[in-house]
């Protein structure tokens, strides 16, 4: 078994039995002495080697904030840009260990990007340390930090009241802060709150009880971290949840399902269900490099084989057969927005949950939360670092649990399909019943049947370009040509739609997204009716055009970029709109004070500086003919 290892019983005992893992995060700003506190913990636990301490002494003399003393905060600031600015700007991870535990600390800054960073750090934490400056007491940021860690599912907070040395170690000051905090935290409902009076600079009540606070009888910070019970046991007793991560097929005789158990335990013989297909079967083996395992539990990464040849692939969820997860495609969720551009109703993103990635469309945004006072306020959009509740509609059903039951089967990230950035994170609350009750009515007379009567193939010609580019002119000419060829068409024109269907919408980014969403949905119904549909809208945002593309089967969406330089369009200015916009009378005008995102891969690009409208229309018709779009169905 161990070719080159010599057995040492003391080390064996230490490794195999005792040590557990506690992950925690720290909330507070540099001013509260957070970096100093963590630096102090690292120092006290003895993980700082001598050569680094020597470097610390040198750094403290050079850039330290406290002349003549060690500046423990300098142990933490990693990137040179931050060291120059004197603030930490990102999540960083630190490690230390005691005889009982290994600790992973997610250190998150209190300033810039606090929501994004704190949510990231808290997402994997079992416990949070919230730092307060004893001179300042409970502040807005304290409430904000508490709400965020509560939102991420942390149920145990440690309130560290720091800088006690600067308030003469006053019991009264500490007692008032503790009472204030408990009164506030009651509305959140943590399971456990521990308050500790500390001076990080002097080391009071960090490792050892301080003689300066004889009135404090509770645990020291390190004592508490060593002893605190971590809530793994609840998840161990929950029903099995294992997202299938990878199907292991080294040869025809072996088919294993690899994944990490996120709830429950499993052993050979257990009845399991594969979701969302809902097929049931039995666990045959738990295969491992060290031989088959008799059982496995939450936290382990394993490989299962199943008794029956059921269809299982990445993204499926293996669960206890009689305690399955819920299945739905519409949800209410809390979303934390992490992107410069806002979250808008109608936008479509990739949603990754567990090992599954699906397409999600943002439905109604119900409210956003003022993280400073926990008030819910109505909001049409969510901006960077804002948190709100909204509906999400997925392109297919998924198996899930509410986030408060399980972080892994209820937590998700949102990914922008163009930039591939992670733009948001969220927590599923519950399925919207609508999902189960409203089915798409399968009609006997279908699209093919309707199109067949007309002897045509339905499609959507999506013209996009600046105002005055010539979209409507070209679309009109194309429509006339198709009509004369006995094709049944319909042209949805921007101005006309705004007179009726969309007369309630303005020109803000949010309204523009909704405008395009409605048009895309109407166009989809018309294509379904068997028509060749044209739309002529500026449709400036790539995301909405992509959304329309995804509504239709592949090949039926034809994006036509009417490419006219801004200077040319402005010169033409057929409706006098550019002049108005330049005079500031028209806000959010595309090309002037609102962006136009150029199509990356349009099916057809028309350069109107080279082609007349008539020639352009001929190009479009020729393009359709070449694609076989004007032939009758086969």
């Amino acid at each position: 078994m161990r070719p080159n290892a010599q057995i040492d019983t003391a080390i064996d005992a230490d490794l195999r039995v005792a040590k557990s893992l506690l992950r925690f995060n720290t909330c507070g700003s540099v001013d509260d002495g957070k970096s100093t506190l963590i630096g102090r913990m690292l120092f006290e636990s003895g993980v700082i080697p001598k050569d680094q301490l020597a470097a610390l002494e040198a750094d403290s003399k050079r850039v330290g904030t406290r002349p003549g003393e060690l500046d423990y905060a300098l142990l933490l600031d990693g990137l040179s840009a931050e060291r120059e600015q004197g603030i930490t700007i990102d999540v960083s991870y630190r490690f230390f260990a005691t005889d009982k535990r290994k600790f992973i600390v997610a250190d998150t800054p209190g300033h810039e990007q606090y929501t994004r960073n704190m949510v990231t750090g808290a997402s994997t934490a079992d416990l949070s340390i919230i730092l307060i400056d004893a001179r300042k007491g409970v502040l807005t940021q304290t409430r904000r930090h508490s709400y965020l860690v509560w939102l991420l599912g942390i149920r145990h907070v440690v309130l560290v009241v720091n800088k006690m040395d600067l308030v003469d170690y006053s019991n009264d000051v500490f007692a008032k802060i503790e009472a204030d905090y408990r009164a506030f935290a009651e509305q959140l409902g943590f399971d456990e709150i521990t308050c500790i009076p500390v001076s990080a600079v002097r080391g009071d009540n960090i490792m050892k009880h301080s003689t300066a606070t004889p009135w404090y009888q509770g645990a020291t910070l390190m004592g508490l971290l060593n002893e605190v019970q971590v809530d793994h046991s609840r998840l161990r007793n929950d029903p099995l949840r294992m997202p299938v991560q990878w199907v292991n097929r080294p040869n025809l005789d072996f088919r294993g399902f690899a994944g990490t158990i996120v709830a429950g335990t499993v052993k050979p013989g257990d009845m399991v269900r594969v979701q969302p297909s809902n097929k049931t079967t039995k666990v045959s083996r738990i295969v491992s490099f060290d031989g088959d395992l008799p059982s496995a539990t939450v936290g382990q990464s394993i490989t299962l084989t199943l008794a029956d040849e059921v269809d299982v692939s990445r993204g499926d969820l293996i669960v206890t057969a009689d305690s399955p997860a819920e299945i739905a495609n519409q949800f209410e969720a809390t979303v934390v927005w992490m992107n410069e551009g806002p979250l808008l109703r109608g936008r479509t993103y990739l949603l990754k949950i567990g090992t599954k990635t699906v397409t999600a469309t943002v439905g109604a945004i119900k409210n956003k939360i003022n993280v400073n006072n926990l008030e819910q306020v109505p909001a049409p959009t969510l901006g960077l670092n804002e948190i709100g509740v909204c509906n999400l509609e997925l392109d297919r059903p998924i198996a899930f649990d509410a986030y408060k039951v399980n972080r892994d089967t209820g937590g998700f990230i949102l990914i922008d399909r163009m930039t591939n950035d992670t733009v948001g994170a969220g927590m599923l609350h519950f399925a919207l019943r609508r999902a189960q009750n409203v089915h798409w009515q399968a009609l006997d007379v279908n699209k093919q049947a309707r199109a067949a009567i007309k002897g045509q193939k339905p499609c959507l010609l999506w013209y996009t370009g600046l105002s005055g580019a010539g979209k409507s002119t070209i679309a009109n000419l194309v429509d006339k040509k198709l009509h004369s060829m006995n094709r049944h068409t319909y042209l949805l024109d921007g101005d006309n739609v705004r007179h009726g269907l969309n007369k309630d919408l303005g020109f803000t980014a949010a309204d523009r997204v909704e405008n395009i969403r409605r048009i895309a949905e109407v166009a989809r119904l018309m294509v379904d009716a068997g028509l060749i549909v044209s739309t002529a809208f500026i449709s400036p945002f790539r995301a909405e055009r992509e959304m329309a593309r995804y509504l239709l089967p592949p090949g039926e969406f034809i994006e036509i970029f009417v490419d006219t330089p801004l200077s040319v369009a402005e010169q033409r200015d057929p409706k006098g709109l550019y002049k108005k916009a330049r005079r500031g009378e028209l806000k959010n005008f595309t090309g002037i004070d609102s962006p136009y995102e150029t199509p990356e891969k349009p099916e057809l690009r028309i350069d109107t500086t080279l082609l007349s409208p008539e020639a352009a229309a001929e190009r479009v018709v020729a393009f359709l003919q070449a694609r076989g779009a004007l032939e009758g169905p086969a």
């Binding site: 990137l79 840009a81 630190r94 793994h232």
Partner: protein, 299 residues
């Protein structure tokens, strides 16, 4: 019975490796022959068992590794049944780049940084596993598990994706690639304990033995072959030493030690008062040198 910290770290590393295999097109494992590479390779065997790890090993060779390391590399590749790719920067060969005449910085830049970029481009790998840990060095504490590189292999520390829960966004633009660090949350001690518990083979240089040593600027340099130019009057002396990290032999300092077994190494670590990278000459080139190297494409 709750899982120990090593069991949880193992499960996390395995989950990361499987995610890469499931979501990228052409992954590779960078194998530098050290203890972290050894632990990572062992984890890969566990992650994909009974299949062999579904990616090759890549060694970006500088031609100045210890001789014991080359022996170990070939043995491990043979035992794992994985394909071993060895890349030596042809430009460095042509210019005969070495640490003695060109200095440690040019040597490392040319063989390792440039060599790595060449190898990734040559084979078209879109994801590369590395054994780096966040505890190694301050600038690494903020490194993501999935770290994106532009088509020019540059790292932008100000524009990293948030990593929540166990969810990794692996999507990338054409030409971009990902460096993946499954051991991000491991410490040096964790690695040693894991090597001990799992019986993972390591290069004998990690164990203390009598070795021919010259002392230069406080660093104990082993005379591993006759390429090391001796200064006038300099004479290698047999000293009882071992190595905490392994790199190019002229750039890697030994420590005096009597730890000839794994338990002795662990006990020595527990009492240790210096950090692991102290033996590395490259970290001392300039302030924040590691961060700068990373932005330029060093692993």
């Amino acid at each position: 019975m709750s899982l120990t910290h090593l069991e949880l770290l193992e499960a996390e590393a395995i989950q990361i490796m499987r995610e890469v295999v499931a979501e990228t097109e052409k992954p590779v494992m960078l194998y530098s022959i050290g203890k972290d590479s050894g632990a990572m390779l062992h984890l890969a065997k566990k992650a994909f068992y009974p299949a062999p790890p579904p990616f090759p090993l890549l060694h970006v060779d500088t031609t100045f590794k210890f001789r014991d390391m080359y022996t170990m590399r070939d043995r491990m590749a043979a035992e794992s049944g994985m394909e071993l790719l060895v890349h030596k920067n042809p430009d460095a060969i042509a210019r005969n780049i070495n640490p003695f005449t060109h200095g440690s910085q040019v040597h490392t830049d040319t063989w390792k940084t440039e060599g790595l970029k060449q190898a990734l481009d040559k084979y078209g790998f879109d994801a590369a596993f590395g054994g780096a840990r966040r505890d190694e060095e301050k600038s690494r504490a903020k490194e993501r598990v999935f770290s994106f590189r532009s088509a020019q292999h540059r790292w932008d520390p100000k524009n990293q994706r948030p990593e929540l829960w166990r969810l990794y966004n692996t999507r990338k633009q054409k030409g971009e690639s990902i460096r993946v660090f499954p051991l991000s949350n491991w410490t040096e001690m964790d690695v040693w304990q894991y090597i001990y518990l799992e019986g993972i083979p390591i290069v004998p240089l990690y164990y203390a033995a009598e070795r021919p040593i010259v002392e230069r600027d406080g660093a104990l340099i082993m005379v591993d072959d006759d390429r090391l130019p001796l200064k006038p009057g300099e004479k290698p002396q047999q000293r009882m030493v071992r190595f905490r990290t392994l790199g190019c032999y002229p750039l890697t300092g030994a420590v005096e030690s009597t730890a000839t077994t794994l338990p002795a190494i662990i006990r020595e670590m527990q009492a240790s008062e210096v950090s692991e990278r102290q033996g590395r000459v490259i970290d001392y080139d300039s302030p924040s040198s590691m961060e700068q190297k990373k932005q330029e494409g060093y692993f």
